[in-house]
């Protein structure tokens, strides 16, 4: 019964993560994106903790705490500061045709459900049903990176993709080994700083953060 209830909670959290992934796809304002991203991290962290509690795997607590610190507080804060410094908070991004994007998103969810169905039948883990959601989150993150034009939103898409990978690890094998997770966390943090530096560089070079400007970076005929 205990385990069943934990499975229900992870199910709800998986649904919430999926919801935030969709919300990231449709949100136009950059601050809104940051909030949603922080919420996604929070759900991820809770779900890792719940899985850790119900399976008795200690290292999941550490991942959960790491996720909480990094993805709910640190990264959104860094991005917030970046946005503030770059003075792009007023920018409302033009998103390509939201309904179409959402329909593609739905198709991706169905596709990932289809892809993970063999795993679901073989696995005996409590979290096996959330694997489809994890894969869908990865794909939705990629979709977001494809459809957005602003560099900052692209980074958020990338981070959300990473969230999906983390969730996949939790649901497929109850998390990666701790060393790997620590390494990934460090990578993400460093990546965030590098992004920041790059943003300033892009900004000073092109006077805009619209990645359309990068189209100029090709060899002239």
């Amino acid at each position: 019964m205990e385990n069943g209830f934990a499975a229900q909670i992870t199910g709800v959290l998986a649904a919430l993560i999926l919801l935030t992934a969709f919300a990231l796809l449709v949100q136009r304002r950059i601050y809104g994106l940051l909030h949603i991203f922080a919420w996604q991290g929070l759900f991820l962290s809770i779900s890792a903790a719940v899985v850790g509690y119900s399976t008795g795997l200690r290292h999941l607590y550490i991942s959960s705490a790491l996720t909480l610190a990094l993805k709910v507080f640190a990264l959104p804060y860094i991005l917030y500061v970046l946005i503030h410094r770059l003075k792009i908070q007023k920018e409302v991004e033009e998103v390509v045709n939201i309904p179409t994007t959402m329909l593609i998103g739905i198709a991706l969810v169905i596709f990932s459900y289809h892809l993970t169905s063999p795993v679901r039948e073989l696995s005996t883990l409590m979290t096996r049903s959330t694997l489809a959601v994890a894969l869908a989150t990865v794909m939705l993150g990629l979709l977001m990176m494809i459809t957005r034009r602003n560099a900052v939103t692209q980074i958020i898409g990338f981070l959300s993709l990473e969230n999906g990978l983390f969730f996949a690890a939790t649901s497929a094998t109850y998390g990666m080994p701790l060393v790997v997770e620590l390494g990934v966390a460090l990578d993400i943090l460093i990546a965030a700083f590098i992004f920041g530096i790059f943003f300033f560089q892009i900004r000073t070079t092109f006077d805009s953060l619209d990645i359309k400007e990068m189209e100029k970076l090709k060899e002239e005929d």
Binding site: G11, A15, V26, M102, G105, I106, I110, Y113
Partner: protein, 323 residues
Amino acid sequence: MTGQFYPAIIEGVQVATVLLAAPLLVGWVRALKCWSQGRSTAGLFQPYRDILRLFSKDIVLAENASWVFRAAPYVVFGATLMAGAIIPVISVKAPLAATADVIALVALFAIARFFTALAGMDAGTAFGGMGSSREMMVASLAEPALLMSVFTVSLVTRSTSITEMVRVLSTGPFVLRPSLAFAFLSFAIIAMAETGRVPVDNPSTHLELTMIHEAMILEYSGRHLALMEWAGMMKLFLFSSLAIALFFPWGIAGMGGWLAGTAGLAGLPAAFFFLALKLALAGVAIVFVETGLAKMRIFRVPEFLGTAFILATLGMLSYFMLE
């Protein structure tokens, strides 16, 4: 011996509740709104006074209004009240509940909408046509989303009959269901659109470019207007009751659970209490949303309803994926 009349009594009580409590709900929402904006209210009972006053007023008909215009208020009122007899507002024992399942219920509201839209076009004004056109646009986008939302609930309960849905949801073991949460969010968005509340339509405006429902009933007066207004109030009441029945059914009488347990009439007082409580909270939620949001441009509405559709679809997907 009198037990055999219980179903008829319950049905009568329910219809009376729908008729009489609908203006009260609207009054409650208006009063809450006034308080939240620091204005003084006209009182909870102002909608009753409005309706009564309209009934005694003369009717001014547009010169070229046809019988469709004169018949529409009665048909709209009739279809809405019929819906009120079917939704289990206070008890699942109402005998007319089997008349229509949730799909047919949606179609009953569609009849009302169809005739309102026709009435809007009858006088031959620009406003009326604009209202009809917009109303039908909103409806045609809301309907698929509504169906998906209802469909998710019917997946969980394996039925489309509302009383059966209520029974399964309120007597089964408590399970956390993300699918129902999604379906509820989607239903809430659609209900806001269908009942003409703020982000989609503004019930208290006569600004030509913002109105939808008001534009259609612009030419009405006297008892026709009273019936139209009353039907509109009942629609708000019924969508709230439907949301309660589908997503928060605990406390509706006649199920034999630990709440409002016994069949027959004994469960009714408790059912009334829970209904009043839930509707009051629904009113608070409506005011909360309406105060927090601005009315959107008409061409933002498709996106808003598209969100409802995606939410409902996510609900369905998460039923298959996570439950």
